[in-house]
Symmetry: C2
Subunit: 202 residues, 2 copies
């Protein structure tokens, strides 16, 4: 089995990434977490793009451990905000990781934005960095629009205000398997699957 390090400290995101990779059943790959390797220094996320941040995280993990490493950077991209919160999604309300404050702030900012201009997407960049230093980075997008109030208890981040196209429920009202079938993170990871498979057979 080829070990691949999944470099995320966000427990809910890690669950989702693992669940997707298990569903995709890449033969010959064993996914391990950061808790199974010695601690290493991680650079802050200061990139201007999701891709830069995903690559930086995967590079840190690969160079510290010698293992192939997968990392993602994800966020909400709001049309009426020219793509913001984007790479600032996690600290939109001014400090890191307060999901409730972040989504309430977005709703407040968009109070005067009419329904026809509330389009948005979840975006995920997923990077694979190999022990030989070669890199692959892919992007998955999930289009939808923003609700006027949060609904649902599943997922995390901005899930309670994101209504995927073709749905009336928010992504926090989908059950995890439904979300995994179509989410930005699933779409990105699926693009990495052939590359992970190639690692195993190399």
């Amino acid at each position: 089995m080829t070990k691949v390090l999944l470099a995320s400290r966000n427990a809910k995101k890690l669950d989702e990434l693992r669940r997707i990779l298990v569903t995709e059943r890449v033969p010959g790959i064993e996914v391990i977490g950061l808790d199974e390797v010695p601690p290493f220094p991680e650079a802050p996320e200061t990139g201007a793009t999701f891709e830069e941040n995903a690559l930086a995280k995967a590079r840190d993990a690969a160079s510290a451990t010698g293992l192939p490493a997968v990392a993602d950077d994800s966020g909400l991209v709001v049309d009426a905000m020219h793509g913001m919160p984007g790479v600032l999604s996690a600290r939109w309300a001014g400090r890191h990781g307060d999901d409730q404050a972040n989504l309430e702030l977005v709703l407040g900012q968009l109070t005067d934005v009419p329904d026809e201009r509330r389009g948005a997407a979840f975006v995920c960049a997923a990077a694979l960095v190999r022990p030989d230093g070669s890199e692959t980075v892919v992007r998955g997008e999930w289009r939808g629009s923003l609700a006027r109030a949060p609904r649902g208890r599943n997922g995390f981040g901005y899930d309670p205000i994101f209504v995927p196209y073709g749905e009336t429920r928010t992504s926090a009202e989908l059950d995890p398997a439904e979300k995994d079938a179509v989410s930005h993170r699933a779409r990105a990871l699926r693009l990495l699957v052939p590359h992970l498979g190639a690692l195993a057979s190399a």
Copy 2:
């Protein structure tokens, strides 16, 4: 004298607009404020651009009063935020007009953004709508970068965190005459001066 209605309810912005127009000394023009005309309904600012919002305000004022009307829409455009807060500048922290909360939120959101990517601009669109329905809209920009903490007590809005190019002071540390010489609002209004002059001589 041709009366021109300056359609703003923001007292500090109104001061600044009046000061600039007085300095520019457009002959034959008398600038009056919204307090000198009967109240009229004003549409909420829901445009996607500064220009749309400025035009909407000037149109409301011109059609309600029959006077030529000037209105502006202004905001802070942050490079690392793809141009946001932009048209949402006034309600960035989630409710309208809390300058302190708005600028502190921007500082919090940009905590991890390094100095070389803290470029920003103040942008002002100024619209003139004439009694015959003809319209002119212009744009002034003032480039600079964002400080890491607020400084200065002059001005309003995001002035305490905006450092104009070539300056070490924030725009809230400039005195009003210094700001008027170079600000986004001054640049936009100066572009309107010939149009206002033409009104007076028509």
